[in-house]
């Protein structure tokens, strides 16, 4: 079973619900997709020509689903991830987050959507160097709330972040700056940060790509445990086959198109 990836679907027919004609992987409840895109193309100007990176991607991610996105370098995985994470605007096509067409919203509401619905875990952790571990972890709450609202809920958020960091084995690292922490520790803080506001979607771009195997395993355990416990939809970009095998669904990208879905036999 493959997704119709060989051509864009007219965006006009997509009021935010499931993409017509698309199928749901077997064994999955037919729920509303928390994240979807339809007919997404992305091209960049190179000199006078335009270089198209994505040639029309259709994708659905359902609540609690664990999806791995694989593909060769330059296949457009990260570009797709940025578009799904609302960081980049598709040249054509639409992105739906929790049923809302993200690019029809105002910049402010789109930022709110990103803040509340999507958690990011990057390959290079991307923590703010001036903040402590705990402060980095509560940053999404600070961004979400006004000063007054944050102050009245401060204890709750700090508690939530502390609990999470403690569970991740960072109890004695709460006051440390990122520069004082190892890569594995930093990535665990990044995971805590991504999960702080309980988003329904977690986007991870090679979360273990910058870690040694042992550390990567531990970080991955934490990530996958939290994902299944919270029922978060996880979209994972990885080059690691073993990691991909732990996902329910694997997509292969090549030349800006999704060439295969794991529901179909993985090409060998």
């Amino acid at each position: 079973m493959t997704l119709p990836s060989d051509g864009p679907i007219p965006t006009g027919s997509l009021p935010g619900g499931p993409i017509p004609g698309s199928t749901v992987p077997s064994g999955q409840l037919r729920t509303e997709p928390v994240l979807a895109c339809a007919g997404v193309r992305r091209s960049f100007p190179v000199g006078e020509r335009r270089l198209e990176i994505l040639h029309g991607i259709n994708l659905e991610l359902r609540a609690g689903e664990r999806l791995a996105l694989m593909g060769t370098s330059g296949a457009g995985k990260t570009t797709l991830l940025h578009i799904l994470g609302l960081l980049d605007r598709p040249t054509e096509g639409s992105v739906y987050v929790a049923g809302q067409d993200a690019w029809s919203l105002s910049a402010r509401r789109r930022a709110n959507l990103r803040n509340e619905k999507i958690g990011f875990v990057f390959q290079f952790y991307h923590l703010l160097p001036e903040l402590s571990a705990l402060e980095n972890a509560v940053l999404p709450a600070m961004i979400k709330l006004s000063r007054r609202a944050f102050r009245s809920n401060r204890a709750e958020f700090l508690d939530r972040a502390t609990t999470m960091l403690t569970r991740f084995g960072l109890a004695d690292r709460l006051g440390h700056r990122p520069s004082q922490l190892s890569g594995g520790e930093q990535q665990r803080i990044a995971i805590a940060r991504a999960l702080l506001l309980d988003p329904p979607i977690l986007i991870a771009d090679e979360p273990t790509g910058n870690l040694d195997r042992g550390t990567g395993e531990k970080v991955l355990e934490i990530l996958l445990d939290e994902q299944s416990e919270r029922g978060v939809a996880l979209m994972l970009v990885t080059h690691d086959e073993r990691l991909a095998k732990r996902c329910e669904r694997v997509l292969y990208m090549e030349d800006g198109l999704i060439q295969a879905d794991s529901s179909a036999p993985i090409p060998t």
Partner: protein, 469 residues
């Protein structure tokens, strides 16, 4: 929330931001300090420039007749007693006294030689002021000027050889040793201290005064030269250097006698109970009353007939005011430089923090939020820098004299030459509204400079920014 938190954190963590803050501190401190000193100079100069001038000075033009509102010409009145009566009736008036003013040439070593050297400063135009001692004491600072300590002689540092008169209530008394001579007693005069320095006058010295008089009673326009011998019996020191170098006081009747004239007055000096509050009201009231009685032309026709002391010093006061404004403008340029520093530092920071900006966007910060974050860094720099700058400026202004003395003794040269000015301390006057304006201006201009890098930060593409390593 993150804007306040992060901006303060960035400010604390990045010491380079403190350079911008220090720049604003210096600029605001200098502005507050210098403008306070200039305001002090202005205020002190006003006190000084007033010298022996009265609050209001009435100098009728003594035409033959005055045009009234109804079109009638009435003969101009010259009865000074009646005029004083009218003036003293006014509730705002504290005292009034007549003066006879004339000009002459001072010739201490014989009248002839004084006129021979016109290109040298041997010839000096002198204000001859005839006064009533008691009335003058009430209406002007005349009495104080007889009591003031001697100033230092410029250059040499010696004191004046002409002492103050012994009896302040009756200063125009011939000195005993001269009176014993057979010659007719000379007219006693009081000379300004600077004049005494300039001519090396001694107490008791005889001097000549040469002047031209105008005979009012003659049918022809007849100008007559007059000269007479006078005796220096004392000196005075008003607060105004110029007055001290060109004024001679003598008894009003003695001066009229010297000029051989009937009218014993040329001006009336008025002191008010509250000059600042009443000057315009009293002037308007008296002017129209005196006009109705035929003493003055209609108010506003001949503005020289009725002046406040400030009118006499208008140019100088305006010059100091102007200097203050110029200083303000020049020092504001320091503020602009400080603003540029903030601009450069923030621009650097935006470039360095591109990745952080990308992270913030990924976590849900809006472009406006990013703009506000960097604006806030500028705001803190401005607020903290100008608050400390204002503090430094105000403290400096209050202690500028002690600071200058300390610096002068440490470095061995005089920064503020107390001989040049009439006041021997550095005056400073801090105005709350002035400080508020400076601080407000500093904050505003810094925000303006911070706005450009902040806007740039808000326009960054988060994907590009995240890629930045």
């Amino acid at each position: 929330m993150f804007r306040t938190f992060l901006s303060l954190r960035y400010l604390k963590a990045r010491k380079t931001n403190w350079i911008g803050m220090a720049g604003i501190l210096v600029a605001v401190g200098a502005l507050v300090l210098i403008l306070s000193i200039m305001a002090g100079f202005l205020e002190e100069s006003r006190r000084t420039l007033r010298g022996n001038l009265a609050d209001l000075v009435i100098q009728p033009s003594f035409q033959s007749s005055v045009l009234q509102e109804n079109g009638d010409w009435v003969p101009m009145q010259t009865d000074v007693e009646r005029m004083l009566e009218i003036i003293r009736e006014d509730p705002g008036v504290a005292a009034a006294t007549p003066q006879l003013q004339w000009y002459g040439i001072f010739a201490p070593d014989g009248g002839e030689s004084a006129l021979e050297k016109p290109m040298q400063d041997a010839i000096q135009l002198i204000e001859l002021v005839g006064i009533d001692v008691e009335g003058e004491g009430e209406a002007t600072d005349f009495r104080e000027s007889l009591e003031t300590e001697f100033g230092k002689k410029p250059g040499l540092g010696k004191h004046c050889n002409v002492g103050r008169p012994a009896d302040l209530d009756d200063p125009f008394v011939n000195l005993r040793e001269i009176r014993q001579r057979r010659t007719r007693p000379k007219v006693p005069i009081l000379v300004g201290e600077q004049l005494a320095y300039l001519w090396g006058l001694r107490r008791g010295q005889e001097v000549s005064l040469v002047t031209a008089t105008y005979d009012e009673n003659s049918s022809k326009l007849n100008e007559t030269a007059a000269n007479a011998r006078f005796q220096v019996v004392g000196s005075f020191r008003s607060k105004d250097n110029e007055t001290d170098s060109r004024r001679i006081y003598m008894d009003r009747r003695a001066l009229a006698d010297f000029l051989q004239r009937d009218r014993l007055w040329s001006a009336v000096l008025v002191k008010l109970n509250d000059y600042k509050r009443d000057k315009d009201a009293v002037r308007a009231r008296l002017w129209s009353k005196l006009h109705a009685e035929g003493f003055l032309s209609a108010p506003g026709i001949r503005i020289n007939e009725f002046r406040t002391w400030e009118d006499f010093r208008a140019t100088l006061l305006a010059a100091i005011q102007n200097e203050k404004a110029l200083m303000g403008i020049m020092l504001s340029l320091v503020l602009v430089v400080a603003g540029f520093t903030v601009f450069a530092l923030l621009s650097m920071m935006v470039t360095e923090k591109r990745r952080d900006i990308g992270i913030l966007c990924a976590l849900g910060a809006t472009p406006r939020g990013v703009l506000a974050l960097f604006l806030m860094i500028g705001l803190w720099e401005a607020v903290i820098g100008s608050a400390f700058g204002a503090l430094v400026g105000v403290l400096g202004a209050y202690n500028i004299d002690a600071i200058e003395r300390k610096l002068s003794s440490t470095f061995g040269f005089q920064i503020f030459n107390r001989d040049i000015y009439l006041f021997d301390y550095i005056p400073a006057e801090v105005s709350v509204s002035g400080v508020a304006w400076i601080v407000g201006g500093a904050v505003f201009s810094t925000l303006l400079f911070a706005a450009i890098p902040a806007w740039r930060a808000s326009r960054l593409d988060p994907v590009e920014a995240l890629r930045h390593e």
